[in-house]
């Protein structure tokens, strides 16, 4: 009996240890960003590639807007409703005054300045693959947007998902900053495409099926998934689906630019906001994304 208690206590302690939020070591970040001067144009590019406004933009006519990151969008999921927080530079309601380290911990380790875990509904599992200097540029861009004192309510989640601590275990198993797909090393276009898709673009968050623990399945990367909003499916965008394999790289780049596919159908669903963000990138970035999608291992 006593022995059991001892083991239980040990297990609880191990669990507590394993699920604790782990940020970056300050020295690690300063090393990766030493001497970096923020580039606002690049920050805006990452703001668009990352789709921050699609979740954090203030709501008007039921749709998030791109001008003020006041938050408030309600995201329904099987475990409850998430509300996108205010990430405008407001000192109290937003993220004004955050240090670079706090911002990087949030964006890449899913840890808040108070040392709590964020839910992966905030796609940090993808942003974890971004360059630290790109994130500093993004932060400088966000700091220049208008501040809003809009107060966003908390999430409404069912038990046990309402407990943030459990996310620690999820992160230990699935939070991984390494690239998902091998590309020919030295191919700058494919590497750029991979960076944009797997990192800031977070395409896998919708297009990759998830396992029992709600983590993206790297073995079926971008192979299509049930639509998290309920109805319909998010399509397979690997060459393994015949009707998509037929698209040329040029077709894909044009779709990302205009929203019009090779059959002259027009984009719909949650892809509309993504496409409108992609339309704001440089043509070379859309071409790199297209080249990467064409080079993906096919998922049947």
């Amino acid at each position: 009996m006593k022995r059991w208690l001892f083991f239980l206590a040990l297990l609880a302690l191990a669990g507590w240890w394993l699920t604790r939020p782990v940020g970056f070591a300050p020295g690690d970040v300063s090393e990766r960003t030493a001497g970096h001067v923020p580039d606002l144009a690049n920050g805006e590019r990452l703001f668009n590639a990352g789709g921050c406004a699609s979740c954090h933009g203030r709501i008007e006519d039921g749709k998030p807007q791109r001008d003020i990151m006041a938050g408030g969008l309600e995201m329904t999921s099987p475990v409850g409703t998430f509300r996108a927080p205010n990430i405008s530079p407001h000192p109290d309601q937003g993220i004004g005054g955050w240090t670079a380290l706090e911002f990087l911990d949030a964006m890449q380790r899913g840890v808040s300045p108070q040392g709590r875990h964020y839910y992966p509904a905030f796609p940090y599992a993808s942003y974890a693959r971004m360059e630290a200097t790109d994130l500093l540029d993004l932060k400088a861009y966000l700091d220049g947007l208008p501040a809003s004192d809009h107060v966003v309510g908390g999430h409404e989640l069912s038990f046990p998902y309402s407990l943030r601590r459990g996310i620690g275990l999820w992160k230990r198993l699935y939070l991984d900053a390494d690239p998902v797909i091998e590309v020919a090393s030295g191919d700058a276009v494919l590497e750029r495409g991979r960076y944009l898709v797997e990192g800031p673009g977070h395409c896998g968050e919708c297009h990759t099926p998830r396992n029992f623990a709600q983590a993206m399945d790297p073995g079926r990367w971008l192979g299509g998934a049930p639509n998290p909003e309920g109805e319909g499916r998010v399509p397979n965008i690997t060459p393994g689906r015949a009707s998509f394999g037929d698209w040329s790289a040029d077709d894909i780049a044009y779709y990302l630019e205009s929203g019009v596919d090779p059959d002259f159908d027009v984009v719909g669903g949650s892809m509309v906001a993504v496409q409108e963000n992609m339309a704001r990138l440089d043509a070379a970035d859309r071409e790199a994304i297209a080249a990467y999608l064409k080079a993906l291992p096919p998922v049947e």
Binding site: G232, G259, V260, V266, V267, G268, G269, V272
Partner: protein
Amino acid sequence: MKRTVLIALALLPVSLATASDDPIAQRQDLMSETREALKPLIGISRGQADFDAETVSASLAVFANTAEKAPALFPEGSETGGDTEAKATIWSDRDGFDQRFQDFAEAVAAAQAANIASAEELGPKLQDVLGTCKGCHDNYRVEKE
């Protein structure tokens, strides 16, 4: 000649019957016509085809026809069936949906009033119209794959 007329006559009631019975098929046909009308406009705006004012106005007329006829083709009771990609939000938020058709009609009317005379002038007007196609497809249509 006579024979084709006869065949056409024989087929007529059938197609009328399916057309009038099934709003899902009707609205999908209308959207497909819209897609066909979009094709030459994309060709011109991408510089793959020469500008032709008649082609542009013919396409815009098809869009205007869609904007006028389509709203009536989403009656109660046509929420499911066939391979419809219509989303349930159409019926839970009818006003929002009708407003999107209104936005579409206005963008098309503005393009028609602009007397577009070159591929350069077509570009931005086409963007506006496409914006209203997307502005409806984002919340009221769902991909089934």
